[in-house]
Amino acid sequence: MDESVAESFESLDKQAHAVRLGMWVFLASEILFFSGLFALYAAYRTEHPGGFAIGVENNTIVHGSINTAVLLTSSYTVALAVHELRRGRSRRAVTLLAVTLALGACFLGIKAAEYAEHFTRGIYPGGHGRFFDTHAQAGTKMFFTLYFCMTGLHAVHVMVGMIVLAVLLGRVGRGRVVAASSYALAAGAIYWHFVDLVWIFLWPLFYLVPGSGR
């Protein structure tokens, strides 16, 4: 028996199926995890459309948009890595994973710079900071608190995704994950796509669409 098959499974096929299914079921759970916050956003934006519009207009749209491009590109490179590994080209897969990790780090770096800019402007979560002396609407405070909650939780997911991909990079590099067991990398890649997809929703909600609230 192939040593990459865990004791509890009869065959690699079954194990691959189980790992893929497990990741999708876990992602269902993750979606519900974020949806609690999306529900808060929807409710509070409906309640305070004006304050949310001010929030969107005062957000760092350049940082957010560059980050969208960075993250989308990283999803492309991780998809390519899976593709190359399936064709047996482990070295290319390792390179592409390294690029993905670099893009993930880049995203986090831009995110950190963005938070730093918020802090220098006096925008802190909970409606604290001098920015809110001049923008005292309840909705604007709520907007930025949710902004920190949701992008912060997303950033945690980026970090977790990077750890997962780094472990997989090591396993691909050492030949522990090969073409036949590429499902492991595919599962990690699905997680990364999920993290990307969450951002695709955060970007318009926090940077692009002020709405006609005012």
Partner: protein, 566 residues
């Protein structure tokens, strides 16, 4: 696929199942338990830990009841009382009831019942246990810091400003949630991918169906709780005010999010109990379930509808009349699915050969208490009545009839029913039946008066009460002593039986369910050869095929595809 390359045979051919070391006997060091990935050992670890939680939560309950012996202060002050009922709820809900049946018995039984060697992700399984322990430690830290006084529901805005240990408590619950989710993911994948050859979905023992339903709820509901209590923690810790009405927040929105989890969580607690009952009734009636499909589909029905009923906790929180009506009607659907199960269980006994043993006594207790609790549930799901009963002892009595009368009695039934399988020994039947009767008497005495108290206007969570309530309060308190005594007696004779109980044999109940096909206690890989389940799990018309032996069954030609169900 042939048996030899299937890897199912880790034991050399010709070895009798009886010569294979049991999962208990294979290693006895602490390390072999602490680092085990064997689902049976993890189940046993969960069992011991949840029993500890049960006794901790029970201790709080006894103190609360003693406090209510007199209308004013008896033994603790008001602030301590608030923290005690909160910690009672938190410990009982998250440390005991949610993992009690799924994580302990589900872990032990699901792989065996579907003929697998283990769950799909054994290491994740062990990790989920340690996540559970970590979460529990945070709850104990909160306790050590003086406990939390918000009630187990953490309603805002009070929970954002309470002077008690809110942050470690919600952190503990957040961590416990990930343990629940990990177990749920593991079970869903296990049931989908690890069933033995020839085992279609409708040949699984019904307990597995209930574990499937509960896993779906665990995976989809728990994350919403995790995020809601995290925000409460942030509001309390960093003053973020997301639910603070003075800063544009909405406390009712918190209630929506909390009950979106916590109502399905009620089904996380009761569905496994229903699964246990669905095993106990056929075994002790020696009769197939009156309708396998009715029980299986109603399990899925409860799991689905359970997500659409949360608003019935909020009839007086200012939701619209239309919403309240919709939630009321949807809530009553659950009663229909539950009634289908109840009638199916009762019909199952008809024409059976009934053997009166402790698990069946617990089934009778379950039947009475669950039906009573369920009927009062329909009553409180009716808006006009709920306005009268909301936040009174009536509601307390109602959910204790379901949670204790339903889940705890089913848990005790499971404990006795599978005790021989898990330990290889029998418990003393006389003691079992006596303490089952004591549980029923103690329970009814504790909680029936609370219906009357609530209907007469006694609000829940109040420290002082009107002296006219005292007689019923005293009866309730004495009942709690009987219930506590019954639990101590049960624990005592079960612990003694671990060492001196009569040897059980593989199938002491003459059951047909698949966990009884292997030795008691089972070997590490559950079966010594790849099991071929020719009979259905409830085929009481055929003689028990007995323990399969490696080398005999393994070389036998593959069994013909079995009929869809027995």
């Amino acid at each position: 696929m042939t048996t030899s390359d299937a890897g199912a045979l880790s034991i050399p051919h010709g070895t009798s199942a009886r010569d294979t070391p049991t999962y208990l006997g294979i290693a006895k060091t602490v390390r072999s338990w602490a680092l085990t990935t064997d689902h049976k050992r993890i189940g046993v670890l969960y069992l011991f830990t949840t029993v500890f939680a049960l006794f901790l939560g029970g201790l709080f309950a006894l103190i609360l009841r003693i406090e209510h012996l007199t209308p004013t202060r008896t033994i603790v002050d008001a602030y301590t009382y608030d923290r005690l009922f909160t910690m009672h709820g938190i410990v009982m809900v998250w440390l005991f009831m949610i993992p009690s049946i799924p994580a302990a018995f589900g872990n032990f039984l699901v792989p065996i019942m579907i003929g697998a060697k283990d769950v799909a992700f054994p290491r994740l399984n062990l990790l989920s246990y340690y996540i559970y322990v970590t979460g529990s430690i945070w709850v104990l830290v909160a306790l050590w810091m003086g406990g939390c006084d918000t009630g187990w529901t953490f309603y805002t805005p009070y929970s954002a400003h309470s002077p008690s240990a809110v942050v470690p408590t919600v952190l503990g619950i957040f961590v416990l949630g990930w343990s629940t989710i990990a177990t749920g993911v593991n079970f869903i994948v296990t049931i989908h991918t690890m069933r033995a050859r020839g085992m279609g979905w409708f040949r699984m023992p019904l307990f597995v169906w209930s574990m499937y339903g509960v896993s779906v709820i665990q995976v989809l509901a728990t994350p919403v709780l995790a995020i809601s209590v995290s925000i409460v923690g942030l509001d309390h810790w960093l003053d973020w005010g997301l639910f603070d009405p003075s800063r544009g927040g909405d406390p009712v929105l918190y209630q929506h999010l909390f009950w979106f989890y916590s109502h399905p969580a009620v089904y996380i607690m009761i569905l496994p109990a229903m699964g246990v009952i669905s095993e106990v009734v056929p075994t002790f009636s020696h009769h197939a379930p009156a309708s396998y499909d009715a029980i299986a589909y109603s399990t899925l029905g409860i799991a689905f509808v359970g997500f659409l009923t949360w608003g019935h906790h909020m009839f007086v929180a200012g939701i619209s009349l239309f919403d309240a009506a919709a939630f009321g009607v949807l809530s009553m659907l659950v009663a229909i699915f539950s009634a289908i199960k109840v009638f199916t269980w009762v019909l199952t006994m008809r024409g059976g050969s009934i053997v009166l043993r402790t698990p069946l006594i617990y089934f009778f207790a379950f039947l009475f208490l669950f039906v009573f609790g369920g009927m009062t549930g329909v009553a409180v799901a009716t808006q006009s009545l709920d306005v009268h009963w909301h936040d009174t002892y009536f509601v307390v009595a109602h959910f204790h009839f379901i949670m204790v009368g339903g889940t705890l009695t089913a848990w005790l039934a499971a404990l006795h029913y599978w005790f021989p399988k898990m330990t290889g020994r029998m418990y003393p039947e006389g003691w079992g039946i006596a303490s089952a009767v004591l549980v029923l008497v103690g329970f009814v005495m504790t909680f029936f008066p609370q219906f009357l108290l609530g209907n007469a206007g006694m609000p829940r969570r109040y420290y002082n009460y009107d002296p006219r309530f005292q007689p019923l309060m005293v009866i309730s308190t004495v009942g709690s002593w009987l219930l506590g005594l019954a639990m101590v007696v049960t624990l005592s004779y079960l612990v003694v039986s671990l060492f001196v109980g009569k040897r059980a044999g593989d199938n002491p109940w003459d059951s047909r369910s698949y966990e009884w096909y292997t030795a008691s206690p089972p070997p590490t890989h559950n079966f010594t050869s790849e099991p071929a389940f020719v009979l259905g799990p409830y085929d009481y018309a055929s003689p028990f095929p007995g323990l399969p032996r490696a080398g005999v069954d393994a070389d036998a030609p593959e069994a013909p595809p079995p009929p869809r169900r027995s």
